[in-house]
Amino acid sequence: MSKFNFRSSKIGTSLIAATLLVGLAACGSSSEDSSTGEESGGQVTVYTGRHYGIETVFDEFTAETGIEVRFTTGSDPELRARLEAEGENTPADIIMTADAANIALSAEAGLLASIDSDVLTEAIPEDLRAADNSWFALSRRLRVIMTSSERVTDAPQTYAEVGDPKWKGKLCLRPSTHPYTQSLVAGLINTLGEDDTRTIVDSWVANDPLYINSDTDILKAIQAGDCDVALANSYYLGRLLSDDAEFPVNLTWPEQAGAGAHLNISAAAVTANAPNRSAAVALLEWLATKGQKSFSDANNEFPADPRVEPKAVLVGFGTFTADTKSVRELGRLNPQAVELLSAAGYE
């Protein structure tokens, strides 16, 4: 995919590395020795693109197992670039992403290790992990149709119906810069094919949507009357409802007669060069079993293991069918989705 190979520019980097060292000797006195990491054992290091409520979950794991968790947060593509550049020197044992496409890209770049663990394969359904078990979903989030409970009685039931002209000027969407929009369109390409997806996206754009780059703000825009219909991830409504049970937005599960609602995941994997592999596997297994509930509840998400009971506010949304078949394809189809969105003039 990425033709950018960090290791190929040897002559250049050697030269530059030499000057860099000279320079550091000259100007590096301002810094102290830091964090090469204590020798392994009871520690696991995590790079995570998901950071909401992650700390309490790690604390819980440490309390139970005695294994310390050291982590750094960031955006998925940047953390992946760092992991790739570090190569064998990486301190990261686990990489955790907030969406399916990014973990798939890491797998494709050869940054992940296949893990042979009965605990993991038993807990996480087959569709929600890599074919070679190089990554595992930990929670499920769905991109659903949100409507104003005050102004909308005939909510759209499919992603195509969101493009109905009657919603012209009343639709809120997230810009195509965001992975959730890209993944949704990648999922539609997988279930409906490229032509039908293009028709749907064109009809959304024709509705002159208000683009807002935050799902929370999209829901608040419905509340404020700036739009009546929107697409957003399920847990944002869960979060707002936890604060205000009367929040005037209804959730509709889309595509229930078809492929099911668009499903995305939070995923985690052991890195190919993990210094503390056994501790990493222990954390992963814990997150997939005992830790499932607190990991998912912290962000109002559905656990990846369908047998684990979701938070009460989510149970209130009713039962639904989700498009589990697309999850593994989201990474592969993402560039195609981005291109389709651009061509459609989606902001």
């Binding site: 030269l15 830091s34 670039a81 550049a85 570090e86 990014n102 810069t177 700036d226 061509a343």
Partner: protein, 527 residues
């Protein structure tokens, strides 16, 4: 004997220039390596879809923001330099403080505030985005213009007035042309900030080239193609700087050393009222409203019990921010000053080389961050450091990356002020046998101290609010205020971001204040 010594000095000078430039430009140059195998398909697709729109949007935004900041920054600097009015000192400080409000938080505050006025749809416009950027970036021009006005001789102005020019005439025909190089230097910084902004333009749905870089990178995972686009952007930025050089040429005048500095004129009551109301309007928009909203959110989040949710608490974050800011600011200003001193008097080729050091500032922050990681990881892989010390994720690595990003601020500021150092003084010193080094430290650095201090202030503020590099390269457990703000805002928890934002803003205001006091002390000593 003598020519021989000169030659050695020359070689040493060139080695210094090339060494510094290689050191700070390498992370960007390493990424530019992707050009050896250009992503033709990505470019073709971009050209078919978004690229033309992105280019025109970027151009319009750039012209609007640079134009707006030059007009606003220069006029405010003139008001503060040329006139006496109540509260002049405080106003001079307050007018710089919008710099302390990071774009990623100011942008949201403004989006939220303005959408109450023009609606959620109306607020997402290029012009409002330009307005927000002007209000937050004009201090770059203000600071440099003010230093230039402070440097202008009273006699020159008095002569102009005695020759029949009024205040306005004196401004447009004498002061403004003399301050042109400094204003251009400030405008160059504004241009680069605008070109590389991601946070603010995204909030307002303004699809610029920088936004396009992130689209390509995050959307397709193709870092190579993203860097190609980013380096095209950098090329445009460097071209702009070349234009700025042209503007700077011919503006090279300086106050004769015996001449007194310009003394502000006292205003009539009516004049006072006009000046003060202009200042109040600008300050209300640029500082009072954003800070008031941040305070409001802080109180709200305190009441809701959600204010302090990050491990380590505010002291840990503020302490780390301060420590990093100090280390990176000192390193950047020292290297920037050395580079500017060595480049000065070495002709066009040296200047060109000096320019290359500023590429880190002309690229979107996340791209520089990845370039620095690639660079440092390449050193780490060679195992040359003792105790298998790794640069990636160390304080040294982080400070290095911050210097790469911001050295332009130090270098440009110092370079512009070196140009105003009276040439006869430098030449006399050289003729009397003082070496380059001695001339630099006894004549040039003291004479350019206004500029050096102003550049230090800018560096301190810029580094305090820096986000993408700190986020990617910080050592484990070393979180800063900006990282905290990011963690909250990336989840749209704006109220939770208010407390660290406020602390960051006040830290910025404090360092700006300290430096302005130093500047004024310096001015008093001279006159």
């Amino acid at each position: 004997m003598r020519p021989m010594r000169l030659k050695l000095g020359d070689m040493f000078g060139w080695a210094t220039i090339l060494g510094i430039v290689a050191l700070v430009a390498s992370p960007v140059l390493v990424l530019a390596w992707s050009w050896r195998d250009p992503s033709g398909d990505v470019w073709a697709e971009l050209w078919r879809t978004r690229l033309p729109g992105m280019i025109s949007t970027t151009a319009i935004l750039l012209i609007a923001v640079v134009g707006g900041t030059v007009v606003l920054g220069t006029s405010l600097a003139w008001l503060v330099s040329a006139f006496h009015f109540p509260g002049r000192r405080v106003v001079g400080w307050l007018l710089v403080t919008p710099l302390a409000i990071p774009g990623y938080i100011g942008g949201f505050v403004w989006l939220d505030t303005l959408s109450n006025v023009v609606g959620a749809r109306g607020v997402r416009s290029l012009w409002l985005c330009a307005l927000v950027l002007i209000v937050s970036l004009y201090p770059y021009v203000f600071l440099f213009a003010r230093a230039a006005f402070a440097d202008q001789g009273a006699d020159t102005l008095a002569a102009a007035r005695s020759l029949g020019l009024g205040s306005w005439g004196a401004f447009f025909q004498v002061s403004l042309p003399m301050a042109r190089p400094a204003i251009a230097a400030g405008a160059a910084l504004v241009a680069m900030e605008t070109l590389t902004d991601i946070g603010t333009v995204r909030l307002f749905n303004v699809s610029t080239l920088s936004d396009g870089v992130m689209r390509v990178w995050f959307g397709t995972g193709d870092l190579g193609a993203a860097t190609e686009l980013a380096s095209a952007l950098t090329g445009a930025a460097l071209l702009l700087i070349a234009c700025e050089r042209l503007l700077r040429r011919g503006g090279r005048q300086s106050r004769a050393s015996a001449e007194k500095v310009m003394s502000p004129r006292t205003l009539t009551v009516f004049g006072n009222a006009v000046v003060l109301s202009v200042v109040v309007v600008v300050l209300t928009i640029a500082v009072v409203i954003p800070v008031a909203r941040l305070i409001n959110w802080s109180i709200e989040s305190n009441r809701a019990g959600t204010a302090l949710t990050v491990a380590g608490g505010i002291r840990h974050h503020a302490g780390n921010t301060l420590m990093l800011m100090a280390a990176a600011t000192v390193t950047a200003i020292v290297i920037g000053t050395i580079l500017a001193l060595v480049v000065a008097h070495r002709g066009r080729l040296a200047r060109l080389a000096g320019r290359v050091s500023t590429v880190g500032y002309a690229m979107p922050g996340p791209v520089v961050a990845v370039g620095a990681v690639v660079m440092l990881a390449a050193v780490d892989r060679r195992d040359v450091l003792p105790d298998s010390f790794l640069l990636v994720g160390s304080v040294i690595g982080l400070v290095y990356a911050l210097v790469v990003r911001f050295i332009a601020v130090g270098y440009q500021g110092v370079e512009a002020s070196l140009e105003r150092v009276p040439q006869p003084a430098v030449e006399s010193a050289r003729v009397l046998g003082a070496g380059r080094m001695r001339t630099a430290f006894t004549i040039e650095v003291p004479a350019a101290r206004f500029g050096i201090l102003a550049a230090t202030a800018l560096l301190a503020v810029d580094i305090t609010k820096e986000l993408p590099i700190t986020l990617l390269l910080r050592p484990f457990g070393v979180d800063t205020l900006s990282v905290w703000v990011w963690q909250a805002t990336s989840e749209s928890l704006w109220a939770q971001a208010a407390v660290p934002s406020l602390v960051m803003v006040f830290m910025g205001m404090f360092s700006v204040g300290l430096l302005l006091v130093a500047l004024e002390r310096g001015a008093e000593l001279v006159s």
